[in-house]
């Protein structure tokens, strides 16, 4: 236990002494002169009191300075804490922004891919002829087809009529030929019959 507190004491004294080499010495000198002043017989020297008061003032001044430095350090610490918090907030918001931007990039890439696909398809579609034109061509062809079939029907009808008329003509001729043949045969029979009668 004693060793520990000794270490502490030594550490503390080193710390204090490290601050200003004159301070500790000044306090010791003041203490020594005070004890000398107390224990000296007879009237004290004038300058002695003044010197002691001066040393005391110096010590008080030094202490005041240290107190101010301490306060300044505290305030600096607060300042740094503020800046630190600020920077942390900025970092988190930057992280969020990065995540958002990454999502945006993914979306943009998808959109770009879709656009490229449309372009590729559009290129092919352009190569095929216009639908309007094709429809018009189809209509014109239809009309032509209709006209041609009409003509075909008409020609067919004419052909049928002529065929029928020829048929009628030929059958009439045939019948006339038949009748003439029949008449000739009838005449021949009559002629053969009458010479036989005349010969009697």
């Amino acid at each position: 236990m004693g060793a520990v507190t000794d270490d502490e004491v030594i550490r503390k004294r080193l710390l204090i002494d490290g601050d200003g080499a004159g301070d500790d010495r000044r306090i010791n000198v003041l203490l020594k002169s005070f004890t000398k002043w107390c224990s000296s017989p007879g009237p004290p020297e004038e300058g002695f009191t003044q010197r002691m008061l001066g040393t005391l003032a110096q010590c008080e001044f030094s202490m005041g300075k240290t107190m101010m430095v301490y306060n300044m350090n505290l305030r600096e610490m607060e300042n740094y804490e503020d800046i630190y918090r600020n920077i942390e907030q900025n970092i988190t918001s930057a992280h969020e922004k990065i995540a958002d931007c990454k999502k945006e990039i993914q979306r943009a890439k998808r959109i770009r891919k879709n656009r490229q696909e449309y372009d590729a398809l559009a290129k092919i579609i352009q190569q095929h002829p216009d639908r309007h034109e094709t429809l018009q061509q189809l209509e014109a062809l239809d009309k032509e087809l209709q006209q041609l079939s009409n003509i075909k029907d008409r020609v067919d009808a004419k052909l049928e009529l002529r065929k029928k008329q020829f048929h009628v003509l030929l059958s009439t001729i045939q019948e006339l030929q038949q009748t003439l043949d029949n008449d000739e045969k009838a005449d021949d029979d009559n002629n053969q019959g009458s010479p036989a009668e005349n010969g009697d």
Binding site: D119, A120, I124
Partner: protein, 315 residues
Amino acid sequence: MSVFSQSFSPCGRFLAAGNNYGEIALFSLSAALSPDATALSQKPILTFTAHEGPVFSLVSTDCQLLSAGNGEVSAWSWSELIKKNVKALWTKKPKYRSSLEIPEINSMKLQSRDNSLVIGAGDNNVHILDLEHGVFKSVLQGHSDYIHCVSVREREAEILSGGEDGAVRIWDSRTGQSVHCIEVYKYETCARPQYGKWISCLTTDSDWMLCGGGPSLSLWHLRSLSPTSVFPLSGCQRYSVFHQDMILAVGEGPFVSHCLLGGDVKAQIPCSLQSVNTLQLNSNSTEHQVLTVGGSSKHIDVFTNLSYRAFSLSF
């Protein structure tokens, strides 16, 4: 050594890469990306031989790593692999018609709608494996040469496959019928007869499809089945992916190309590999969002920012 395939773990902290010796190496991304990473953290934490042939394709489900090599598919548990316990959960082989030669599996994709795995194999067919029951559900036949790549359109439940015969076939995954067949090399804008007609990279974004290989890398609108943009990249592209509003493509040439949907090549970021086979973006973890590329070297380049190569992992 060539790295042919990569896959990130479901937690996003590990990368599995498969090479042409049939080995799979597991890298710890959290160690490699941490501020105190050393050269040791760029080496794999685990390397094991998974197959006898090259591992052409790696796919991660939410708890398993599926690897394809030597004509078979093996499943490994991610949690076991992270604990360095190498034991395959199962190994299955699709029913190939000829049992003499074993066709390799070039590409696998997960179809999460019905928890099945779409496998593009060298026997010109697409096999679909049901992961819940462990049986091969169906076989999609139609290609006349081996299949390089498959892709899945989740919304319309369709499977796309591209192969050596130059055709991209669109299959309905429910009926197994081929809905469309696009022969890319027949379109003048995309065709590059000096490279051939094979399709080596295929990826889809619902309405749009990217395909490339022999013909130039081109963006297709699937509804109208017409090519909308052709990208002026030299060399054949082996892997491409849609990322946000850009297209990332890798292939012959020591760079990763960034392209816009309109057909312009925005940037070509150099990497240390002479020719790149695979590219993967880590979307499983928010803090390790990296792009990794592997190709014709034992290094795997890691890009922490898409604009430059940060460092390389080494097999």
